[in-house]
Symmetry: C2
């Protein structure tokens, strides 16, 4: 395990300390060691909170900033933050206008957000939630409630954060964040595994010369394991289930390709050119493409593709200014 760490059991606390030291203009500590808030005091707007396991950097904490999230709850690697952490993030983000908690559909996060929300409401903090379910590989379209959240969460934070920044009220922020992530269909391909520091061994196995289509962000099983295709065929294999999930024809879309960690960014751009060709062939217009390491899984190789259907309501929110470690516009 070739890692830059001290005690494997303290990786997250040590990393949080590093983020605080490196980016004091972005992050401020809170009363909870696993909660960071935006360093700049925000005005009386709806607070936007996210949270999730570590190991997905720059998600989740990289999306704290101007026009995005106001506070983040940080879990152990690939584990949900605690209910206490979500509660403290709600407190840190609340400006008396309520809090939008925008997170992904994982059992631990659901449980802890629910508990934190109950505790917050006893303190007089109103919390509403949007749960991302954009991973088309994790359940069929008619069982969307079972789908996991993957990189479509970024578009949920972007749109919800932009709505809050223009002083939309809580119901409107929630409506738009929900609309944003409902407009997203995502799928991942895994080309290699990763090693959680506290385990010291690869999390799962992908044989060389193969890829797992539909893999989850923690190595959850996908649709099938297939021989590793070339980039052009990989793009088709990723576009097929996405284009079957929603009718994008004639629409403008935002496209996000995120590496899973160790895949070089040049390969993500190479993959994108084939995705762009395919979308063009289908009569779909790319309004904006974000290609890079936006939501990773430690040092996995592979990528996720997210296609988001845009309308005139979503477009200005997707394009609105933002300033953070992960995303700047």
């Amino acid at each position: 395990m070739q890692r830059i760490i001290n005690d494997p059991d303290n990786v997250v606390d040590d990393a949080v300390r590093g983020y605080l030291r490196a980016s004091p203009n972005l992050y401020a500590a809170t009363d909870h060691p696993r909660v960071l808030k935006y360093a700049i005091e925000t005005p009386a707007k709806v607070g936007v909170v996210t949270g999730g396991g570590s190991g997905h950097e720059p998600a989740f904490l990289g999306y704290v900033g101007d026009g995005l999230c106001d506070a983040v709850a940080i879990g152990e690697i690939f584990s949900s933050p605690t209910a206490d952490a979500f509660l403290e993030a709600f407190r840190a983000a609340d400006r008396g206008q309520g809090v939008a908690c925008l997170y992904g559909n994982y059992a631990g996060d659901n449980m802890n957000v629910k508990m934190a929300r109950q505790m917050a409401e006893m303190e007089g903090i109103q919390v509403k939630t949007v749960i991302a379910r954009d991973d088309v590989a994790s359940a069929p379209a008619d069982q969307r409630e079972k789908r996991r959240g993957v990189a479509g969460e970024i578009m949920m934070w972007k749109v919800g954060g932009a709505a809050a920044a223009r002083y939309d009220d809580l119901d409107e922020v929630i409506r738009l964040a929900q609309k944003a992530v409902d407009a997203c269909s995502s799928i991942g391909v895994g080309l290699s595994s990763c090693t959680i520091p506290a385990n010291g061994k690869p999390n799962f196995t992908i044989e060389p010369g193969h890829m797992e289509l539909g893999i989850g962000h923690h190595g959850e099983p996908g649709i099938e394991v297939v021989p590793l295709p070339n980039a052009e065929a990989m793009a088709q294999a990723m576009c097929d289930p996405i284009l079957a999930d929603q009718d994008f024809t004639g629409s403008d879309v935002a496209v996000l390709i995120s590496g899973l960690g160790a895949t070089p960014v040049m390969e993500l751009n190479l993959l994108y050119s084939h995705v762009a060709d395919r979308l063009e062939t289908e009569g779909i217009t790319v309004h904006r493409a974000d290609i890079g390491n936006y939501f990773t899984s430690l040092e996995m190789m592979g990528a996720t593709l997210t296609v988001m259907k845009l309308d005139e309501e979503l477009k200005p929110l997707v394009d609105a200014p933002a300033q953070s470690l992960a995303l700047t516009r």
Copy 2:
């Protein structure tokens, strides 16, 4: 070899096509397939050009943009761009005020820039150069002319680009870019190797449980191979030769830690906290820290540390606005 590519011999051309499709607001094609220029026509200012081998993304092309470079020459993976490519980049960047070519000290780049510069001058384009030599591990301080350029190049582009953006003349852009990179001392640690697509096999070997201190960006041998230390000891091992290279005591500095590709960003921030502790102990004040994947080597694990001594002339140029794929301020 778990790569997202088509024909391994066409990786660079395929990737360039991807960058052009993904970021039409940043990149425009030129008459040379391996040269990209900034998509927005710049005014009559000094042109800033860089170039180098592929596989270091976001370097070099990620530093084309506002307040940075105007054109980039793109080589094969880990190989210099051709003289023709550098020449076309000079043409693309020239606005009649001359061109500053800011690149790293590698034999192929030196030869091809020299040839391109002679050809450009026959066309009436004045080109002056700064050659980055910031890697303290590659030669002793009294043989600085032998040192390789590594991530200190980013500060050279940042300062040179900012000087050109405020309409400094060519001699002044060159002076400031030279001053910027002379103010940088850098060192890398390699924790694992990488595989060039056209070769299909790892470039070199680092045994698990070991690291190579002072490794170059293409796996060039470092100072020594040592058992992999914890992050705190690794930070000391990187700071020692940097602090011995220049007298930083009492100075303000900019710090840049770049991952080499596959090392998670959380570990880079974790490493930074120990670097920050050490610098504080030495009476050095961190003015700014950039932590992320700024200059990689495909999917190598490891990191580079650059410490740059600032004065009142360099500080505003390091902080000046910039807009690009790799760096935004």
